[in-house]
Subunit: 225 residues, 2 copies
């Protein structure tokens, strides 16, 4: 499976890219500036000499959009314009939005509400022929990008396309420690994205790298509904 | 500590009331109709003969509002009008809003956004002299009200009054299994309340009683920041 990451020079995108590549996927890190993507690729390969990252590539965002599955990890303001510019490449593909819209107000982090209620909904409106899902919002980038460790986190996946949900659930559950849960239709992205600001605020307050686990869920059922 | 619950005849309010009473608190279950509160009290006492519920009372909402700490467990539309009518009683007190605004749309549950962004913000605006906090949104009522079991859940507590946050954290952590976390100022109530609709949707999909645990948080620090 070839996975492209738009905006892969940020902490979340690079962490997801290197993790997925370490698991055997072909991964193209995309950036507005392909030289920056190449630089991040080189850093990651230098950082993890004991992992096979031979299928990690750097490219511009158009190069990343040529993949089979495309992850949107740009800053939230750039998400919809970035995918819109790549609309033809993304048609028919599973596009996974992991961006969160938030701002710092004093010592608090607060969610910002994009025009359609979530970054993912704005992305879906920009590329109506793509199969948009939202996921990976609450995963701490440090743990995700630490190939020596597992990721103690449940991922809430939502989409209006049930097949896309399943593709993303399978992708997330290929990551050691991660469990993925079907959180419903794409309207769920609003509350899921908004919670990220609260988690980041608690990270600052508790000097932690918090993530979410759901209790009361039978593991065996998580992938099947 | 005397705790009053407004709207205690619903599943969440009655569960919290009976749980806190079982832990030694004096609890007054409030309802618009004191006879309904008395009936719920009698049911709870009949259900748990092995627990000391001698300090459980039923009253109208005004009776519950006379307590030291007052929990708002009414349906969300009733929360602000109910506390407004009790404004004088509630002045200076810690008032804990646990209501969630949501609706069912087809097979999905979606959050509704109250005028000020959250039920708790509407409640705070209605009773400016009270010390409003929001908490207990994600606690499954069945587990909370099952005195034979513990509650496998983290509670996110938010308030603009740091003393109120601490009072609610201490109250929540008196419940076996429950951990409470300072989630910031009352603006956090919007995302916290909204997530409840997503959890309820997942409960239906997975036939589960989901709740939230935070990973990556050192237990020893949870109460102190």
């Amino acid at each position: 499976m070839h996975i492209g990451v738009l905006g892969a020079t940020g902490p979340a995108g690079s962490a997801l890219g290197v993790r997925l590549c370490s698991l055997g996927h072909e991964v193209t890190l995309g950036s507005r500036d392909s030289a920056r993507a190449e630089a991040v690729r080189a850093e990651l390969i230098a950082k993890w000499p004991d992992h096979d990252l031979s299928h990690l590539r750097g490219a511009d965002n158009a190069g990343a959009a040529a993949a089979d599955i495309v992850v949107v990890a740009t800053p939230w303001e750039g998400a919809a314009p970035t995918v819109k510019a790549l609309e033809d490449s993304l048609a028919g593909k599973v596009v996974v939005c992991m961006a969160n819209a938030l701002t710092r107000v004093g010592r608090e982090f607060q969610p910002l509400i994009p025009a359609r209620g979530s970054v993912a909904a704005d992305v879906a409106a920009a590329i109506p022929a793509a199969r948009v899902a939202a996921a990976f919002h609450h995963v701490p980038a440090r743990e995700l990008g630490d190939l020596a460790g597992t990721v103690d986190c449940d991922v809430l996946v939502c989409s209006d396309d049930a097949g896309a949900t399943q593709v993303v659930i399978d992708l997330a559950e290929s990551i050691p420690g991660m469990r993925a849960v079907n959180a419903g239709r794409l309207t769920a992205a609003g509350p899921i994205e908004a919670l990220t600001a609260i988690l980041i605020g608690m990270n600052v307050r508790y000097k932690a790298h918090l993530s979410i686990r759901l209790s009361g869920l039978d593991d065996s059922g998580a992938r099947t509904r």
